[in-house]
Structure formats: C-alpha cells, structure tokens
Subunit: 425 residues, 2 copies
C-alpha cells in the first residue's frame, strides 16, 4: 500500500473524500503544546466548584454503576462536596452536585475519568488551531486509584500530593520552559518502544528531560518539593499517558466539525456503552454495547472479575497511536499479552480502515511507514475490521486488574454510516 496524502484522498472522488481530506489535514497539522498545569477550576471551561466530570457519552445518574459510580462519589468526597457516600449520592440526585462528561468540557478521562475543581490539569494548546484540551495527572503506580473507581485514605493522600506538590512544581517548570511541544516527544517515543497508550516509558523520560533545566533552576531556589516531584516522575512510566491523551484530544478536536467528513473524531466508554463521534456528524454520540476482550490479567484474577467503568484514553487510537501503533511497541506483549506476530497483523489491519498514513508518526518495524491515521467509518463498515485499542482493565471491586487489546463494536460505525448517508444523501 502506498502512502495516502490528503490530496490523494481528495482526488479519489466525491464530497465525502474531499471532506475527509480536510479533516485529515487538520488532524496531521495539529501541534499540541503543554502550556501550563493549573487547578481545573481555573482553566476548564464551564466547570463549577460543585461539578464532577466523568468518562463517556452522557448517562443519567441512575445508570452509572460499579467503579464509575463509586469514582464519581469518590471525586465528590475528595472535593469536600459531601461528608459521606450517601450524602454525595443524595446531592447528585438533587442537583447540588453536578455530574457532567469530560468531552463536554474539553477534558479527556482515564478509565472512570474523574475531574473535580481543585485537581491540577495539563493545559494543552494546539499551536496550529488554538483549541485547548485538558487532562488531569497520573495518580501513581498503585493499582488502587480514583480513576479505577477506588477512593480511600491512600487515594486521598496521593491526590492531595499531586494537587499540592506535583501540579504546582510542574506548572512553574512548564511556564519557565515556555511550554513543552508534545508532537516531537510522541514522534521520538514511537522509535523507542512506546505506542503512547499502554506504553509511555520513553515519552515519560523524554518529557522529563525537557523539564530538567527548569527543575534545576527551581531546585536552586531550594525546595524539597522539586525532589519529590522528580521522584514521582521517575517512578511513573505511565506519567506521559495523560499528556498523550491531552495531546490526542487537542489533535482530534481539530479534525472535528468538517461538514461531510466520515472521519472518527472521538471514541469513548462509559460503564454501559462504547460511543464514537464523527467529524461531520456534530456532537451526536453513536453508541453500541460493550465489546468483549481478551485481557491479560494480573495474578489471582479471572475474566469474571473484569468490569467496564468508562475510559477515554482511546482518543490515542483515534489519531493513530495505541492499537494503531502496536508494531512500534513489541515490549507490550509482557503487559497485555499476545505475540509480536499478532501485534504486526493487528497493526497492518488498521491501515485498512484509515484514510491515510501520518506524515510524522512512524513505525520503524514497517520501514518507517506512517501510523494508520484517521479512522473512516465507511471503511470500518465495508471491511468489517474494527479499531484495535490497547487498554487497562478494571476489576469489579475497583482498581486495575490487567491490560489487553480490545476491538470496538461494529454497530456504532454502522449507525455512523447510516446517519452520514441520511445527512449527506
């Protein structure tokens, strides 16, 4: 297969192809830059002190269950919006605490995806389009985390440390550095064993190196906080995941809203459904029941323990990373199972459902072929091949219990094509 440029895509035919070429052009031109780290309330549009954000297409409060529900309640408790779970539940039902979705507020949620006012968020700006995206910070290596539906004293302490120490230090360093461009880090990390979803080891190191000079200056002013922030950065190979998510969100948003385009601009989970959004179909979410998965579980867990609790990190797949760049990350076999051969096959399949090959994000094993990028809902339906996604797996009792590769359900792409045909006859 030869590389398909936006021009080549446009020349293939009708209005849809031209719209897709425009969407691809925007997707590939995006230049996400980390410009700040601030408490969510200061920067996230429309957030209020009594809002809790969570992953996925909107649900009524009654529909949330399991880890996603306990995550929302945990967020309310962390923010001091209620004294206990019962009170939080009552205040949510009566509207004194507002539950809303991440995507509505430019945010992108990891698993349950809980955001509250005081949590620090990465502020990522697309230097090419001016649009902004936000993501909160990795909680640390413990499998019990608020984003996996757990809230207890240890989680509270860890969130407190991030709000009081890590966020302010990183914010100061990022501002002192004049911002950190993320696209070059993603580009290099793809040559260093990362696919930027379930593996972010190299990207975390590359990002840390970008901040070193600013951290040195901060340390010279004294401050144990800089050392503690550095320890946090050094112990968290997944730190960069939240930055790749914010980066991909800013990138995918740039490609959203192109009249006539059938390019997927977001994929997301809540605890009940998988949903996609399409560039030319406005803010409609096309939903389908959960797909099945073949997870690799941590010792002591079985498939019975697996529970969906939402998740929006598949925004990375939406732009061509994660499951679309598995052949750049063979070490992932250890974490999520499978084999190198299977990773290569899966990755090659993704070229069948995408509109093009990224001009800058490349896979060394494929002779530096660009990652398959820009999922076309029509191609998914025509081929029956659905997007492959590298995900963390949550357990019924909350917490992470494994990882794996998941295939998106075909039904939402079929709905997207039907809706697209209806709108653009």
């Amino acid at each position: 297969m030869t590389s398909r440029s936006p021009d080549a895509v446009a020349q293939q035919g009708g209005l849809r192809e031209q719209a897709n070429a425009e969407a691809l052009e925007r997707l590939w031109a995006a230049e996400p830059v980390l410009v700040d780290v601030r408490p969510a309330i200061e920067v996230v549009p429309g957030l209020t002190p009594a809002t809790v954000l969570t992953s996925g297409a909107p649900l009524s409060w009654e529909e949330y269950f399991g880890g996603q529900r306990s995550g929302v309640i945990g967020g309310a408790l962390f923010e001091g919006l209620a004294q206990d779970a019962e009170e939080a539940d009552e205040r949510i039902r009566t509207g004194r605490i507002r539950v809303a979705t991440c995507h509505e507020h430019g945010c992108i949620g990891s698993l349950a995806g809980i955001y509250t006012a005081s949590m620090p968020v990465f502020v990522v700006e697309n230097a090419k389009g001016g649009n902004r995206a936000f993501c909160n910070l990795f909680e640390g290596p413990s499998p019990a985390r608020l984003n996996y539906g757990v809230y207890n004293e240890a989680v509270r302490e860890s969130l407190g440390f991030i709000a009081e120490v890590v966020g302010p230090v990183l914010g100061e360093a990022v501002r002192a550095a004049g911002g950190v461009p993320l696209r070059p880090i993603v580009r290099r990390a793809l040559h260093m064993g990362d696919e930027l979803h379930s593996r972010n080891t190299a990207a975390t190191l590359l990002f840390t190196r970008e901040l070193f000079p600013a951290l040195l200056d901060l340390a010279a002013e004294g401050g144990d906080d800089v050392r503690r922030t550095l320890e946090y950065l050094s112990s968290s190979d997944y730190f960069f995941l939240r930055l790749s998510m914010a980066s991909s969100k800013a990138t995918a948003d740039a490609a959203h809203g192109v009249e006539g385009s059938s390019i997927v601009s977001a994929m997301t989970f809540n605890c009940r459904n998988f949903s996609i959004r399409v560039s030319g179909l406005g803010d409609t979410w096309l939903e389908a029941p959960m797909p099945t998965m073949e997870p690799k579980l941590f010792d002591g867990y079985t498939k019975e323990d697996v529970e969906y609790m939402g998740g929006e990190s598949v925004i990375n797949e939406t732009v061509g990373l994660g499951g679309f760049a598995q052949a750049a990350a063979f070490p992932l076999q250890e974490y999520q199972g499978g084999s190198a051969e299977r990773m290569v096959e899966t990755n090659l399949e993704m070229y069948e459902i995408t509109a093009g090959e990224h001009p800058e994000f490349k896979i060394p094993f494929f002779g530096f072929r660009g990652v398959p990028s820009g999922i076309d809902a029509y191609r998914v339906v025509e081929t029956g091949i659905t997007p492959a996604m590298d995900i963390g797996v949550a357990g019924r009792g909350g917490g992470q219990i494994g990882a794996g590769t998941l295939r998106a359900p075909l039904a939402c792409f079929e709905q997207a094509v039907d809706e697209h045909r209806r709108r653009y006859p």
Copy 2:
C-alpha cells in the same frame, strides 16, 4: 531453538563444553557498576604521563597510518607532549612518547581510541568479579572528533570542556549517587529501541535520570557547570555508548582466561587488521585482514572515502549486544541502512554461533528471547557464519562519514580453532 543454560552447555560433552559453560556463567553473572569518573592517569593501571593508548592489537609505530596515526599524534598534542605533529612523531619514534594499546591497560577504544593521561575516564567495576574496565567520554555530536582521527582547535576545546567540566561534575554526581549499576540500564534500553552499540538513545536517557537527583543537589550548591553538563548529556544520544563499552569490557574480561574455553572474549580493530582474543588462549590475538562492509554513508561520500582507523566498540557484540541485538533496534535502519527483515535475519543467524541466550538481556520482538551471547569460535568455523557488528564508519580525511553493519573475517576464527586444537588436543 531452546534456551541453552550453562548447565545444558556443560552436559553437551567434553572439556571444551564444560570450559565454555564456565566462561558463559562468568559472562552472564557480571554486574558492571559505574563507580567513578577520574582522569585516566589516576586510575588506569600502567598509564604514564607520556603514554598515548590506541585501539586494536599492537602494531609498530611505522605500521599506523591514516586516521589512527593522526589520532595518536593528536592525542600527544592535546596532552602537551609535543609542540607539533613532527615533534610528536619524532618523540614516538625515539620512545619519549609511548604508544600502547587500550586492551593492555583495561581500556576500550572508540574508533582510533585515543587515551592520554589527563582525559577523564569512566571507572566501571564488575561487582561480581572485582575486575575493572575504563572508557573515556563521548566527545559530542560533531563528526570531526579525535576518536575519528581529527585534531584541531574545535576538537581541543571540546576535549578541554570534557576534562574540565563534564568529567568532574559526573564524577562528583556518580560518587554522591554511590555508583550507578549499568546492567539494569542495558536490560531496559533493549526494550526501548537500543542495541547499545549504534543506538544508545534510551540508555542515555535512563542513565541521566539515575544521576538527576545528585545533579539537583550539585546545582543547589550553585554552579553553571552542572547546567553545561546537563546540556551535554541532553544533546548526545550516543553518550551511553562509552558506558556500554566499559560495561561490556568488564563483562567480557570476566569471561577471559578459562582454561580450555573457545568463547571469544574480545574483538578489536586497528587500522590494518581485525583481531579476536579467546577465553582459553591467553593474550594471543588472532588476526585477519579487514572485512568488507556495506555502509550507509552520509550525503556526499562514496565507498572510496571509507577508511579503517581501528575500533573496539565491538566489545558490545562480544557479549551479545549491537549486531547480536539488532532486532531490538529497528530504528537503526535510518542510520545504518538495511531493512527490518534483514535485521531479523542477521540477528537470528547470531544464535547459530553463540553458546547460549542471555538470561536477562532480552529481545521483545523475539518474544523476549535472550540475546545470543558467548561467541564460540568452533561454531563460527563450523557454520561459516561470522559475527555481525554495528559500526560507525570513518573517512579517509578523518571524521565520521557513515555507519553500517560489518561481518568479521572468518580467518581469525579458523586460526583460533587451530590454536585451540593445538593447545587442547
């Protein structure tokens, strides 16, 4: 092929197999730790203020030519042992300046491999055997460097900066950190796109992160030197090569001197010959004429410009890295040519000539199979497959002009087998 443990090797048969199992055991048990950075004169055994070390098996001064000869003269000038090239040449001929080889002094040379008394060296100690190895520091990204046979004002300045700033800062940081174990860095870097010879990008980052807390403390005491050292570390993806070389030298030396073993314990170039040393054959170098190579040259150069000027970085191949771990480093295609398929084939061939698979250094693409490790001279001769080596390519006028993969000449392995049969009938 199944993994061959030392025990399995020993059970295969006679005395040679048992000796090889012993050599493998030592090779795999080595735990190289960077314990200090000091001027060579303070730590390298047998060095004198008027010694210049260079790569490869010994030659008489008349036999050195081209870049290796001008490198030795450049070293003498840098050290202030002569006023100009003519005087340096005269003093070498009359013995007032002593030219010796790196391996004789526990050192390991990059290309021409020039060491003089005042140059800082990494001091790497094998925590399991107590033996030490030394390597001097990467000169920086310019293609014109003393190790590539060039000496001029810019090279002098760069060597001065390393001696006066980088060496002392790193030494202080390494001592404050209580040493830096190198084996875990090599292990992780193999999962991040490095083969530790022609690609050391991840290892350099991982090493820098290990030192960062100590550098923060040094910076707090003030000091522009820490910042300048950090800039040097951040701009040099090849920085770690000298550490992988010292690490591999300490490892290979541990496997040297096992009575009856046919395992190769060193491979080296001077400007005239390729030579190997074998564990059970004492300090004899088995020499053969230069092999031919298929280099990827920088723009503007042709094969006519290629010149051998020595090199000992193939100590990395000797322990199972570099050309023996190409399938861990697909991004190398860009630098040294070839294709992912060819890298896989070459890497698989290396399993045919090695006595075992490393228990800890693993290749993700091969399902975490251990790197082929412990070259057996008998297997090389039996199969006709010779070691593949990832190397930098020097040009006639000095300086680096490209990179490529090179096959060792069969003749020196044939000599090794003849000599082994003679000694151990």
